[in-house]
Symmetry: D2
Subunit: 156 residues, 4 copies
């Protein structure tokens, strides 16, 4: 692999670390960005008592679902944005990150959020220099699709 | 006021208590349902370090915004559903609550989530026996509108 | 095939005919429901001068895209609803149809609507007795995905 | 009024004319942009047989609702974009217009589309150099709100 590719991977790894260990709400929820490439982002969380939104059915809170999908959708848009950068200096990358933000988000809740492990997947469906649109899916450990969504992100 | 009206208010108070003090993710976020009527629901949260989603800008995580709006939107749909009930026995009310759920949610993020206090407001814009649609808004303590959204809820 | 299955197919054919030849706006747009099963609905239209929304780029109007996706999404929800019916008498089917309606619709426009032929596909992603959610996609004759969307429909 | 303001008004009038009389699908639907300022856009259409989507209830097709809301939302985003231009030469304005496009659209259908006249209103709720978000509403001649929506538009 070229130095440039290695550098890009290392940049994505740093972002992943920042999201997993520094962003306070991500650590409160206990989410873990387990994969981050321009093609796909995977975000994992294990079920915990604190994440429950309905104590009768013991299911995940809709806000947790939204959090996982928004993080995954934003990160894959970011990964694509970084893929296109020529200047991978820390300042330039950081400047990009500062300007990434969610414009809007739609979530379709398909099944009650039952499970022990949850995996959000995201990929980019609209590629733009200024705006990207991501498609997201949430599955449990049995592969049941619990929610899908799409998000529009500023990336430029 | 008639007994029936007093009873309805007491039912709404109980639901508010359940949302504020029993639902685990609501207590993790630290949200507080401060008002619940069939006309409007208000949900409050104070800024805390744990709710931050962007440590450069010190702004609220998009997942917190989604959580506040979804809780407010679902509760006002619930309040309308209870308003229409003739039988306010605990079993009947509880049976209703069990079946309320978010079908879909759209959020437009308008401004970075800066502030010390956040207030989500929700009111019903589509009234139905089976499905309700709510409109939601998020403001900070200065009255700046930070996000708006709409949610579709099963209520029947 | 059993009589019941034949009857269901004939009911779906009648609905298709009604959508293609009787609903005025569908004929104005020139759309054609080419397939209708509980698994998938396909709606076709050929490019025509009247459908253009941008005369510089000669692309499909966003309102045409919305029309194709909404029709496809509603029909597949309807097909699933009929699949579950025991009583396929004309009165009962017609009564069902009258109550099917779009609650909300989200469309992501991915590429400019260029092409000579357009195909909308829809399938159900949330199955319910009262509410269904459909997923829709729009492609041109080269298989380029131009738009995706999801719609929530009253079916009960 | 200054020349610059007069010029801006004249630019908006030209765009209005283009939308009303040149864009083929707009004339097919029979819509009329009756007001276009950076604050609000109003789009009108009269009920006609061709716009019906449900012959039992004689109501407006959901695709017509989407068309009216998308046109209104896009035009108000465009009006704001032009408001911010310093160079109002025809080439520059036209260049702007070419790049305005709908990224995504959400519509909440609140009541069946009954009426003799329909008015769509749109205003901008997120102001950006690259992306604008508009809020839209559809009313009939009696002032009943039939649908609301929001759209995200590329403007830069």
């Amino acid at each position: 692999m070229s130095d440039q590719i290695l550098l890009k991977e290392s940049v994505l790894d740093s972002i992943r670390e920042y999201f997993n260990n520094v962003i306070p709400f991500n650590t409160l929820v206990g989410l873990n960005v387990t994969k981050m490439t321009p093609e796909v982002v995977e975000v994992h969380t294990a079920m915990r008592q604190e994440l429950i939104g309905n104590t009768v059915q013991n299911i995940l809170h809709g806000g947790v679902v939204a959090t996982l999908l928004d993080v995954a959708g934003g990160l894959v848009a970011m990964a694509q944005s970084i893929e296109k950068l020529d200047d991978l200096s820390k300042d330039n990358v950081w400047d990009r990150l500062k300007h990434v933000g969610t414009i809007d988000l739609r979530i379709d809740y398909l099944l009650p959020g039952r499970g022990e492990e949850f995996f959000a997947y995201a990929y980019v469906i609209r590629h733009g220099k200024k705006v990207a649109v991501s498609r997201m899916e949430l599955e449990n450990e049995k592969g049941r699709q619990l929610a899908v969504g799409s998000g529009t992100y500023i990336v430029g």
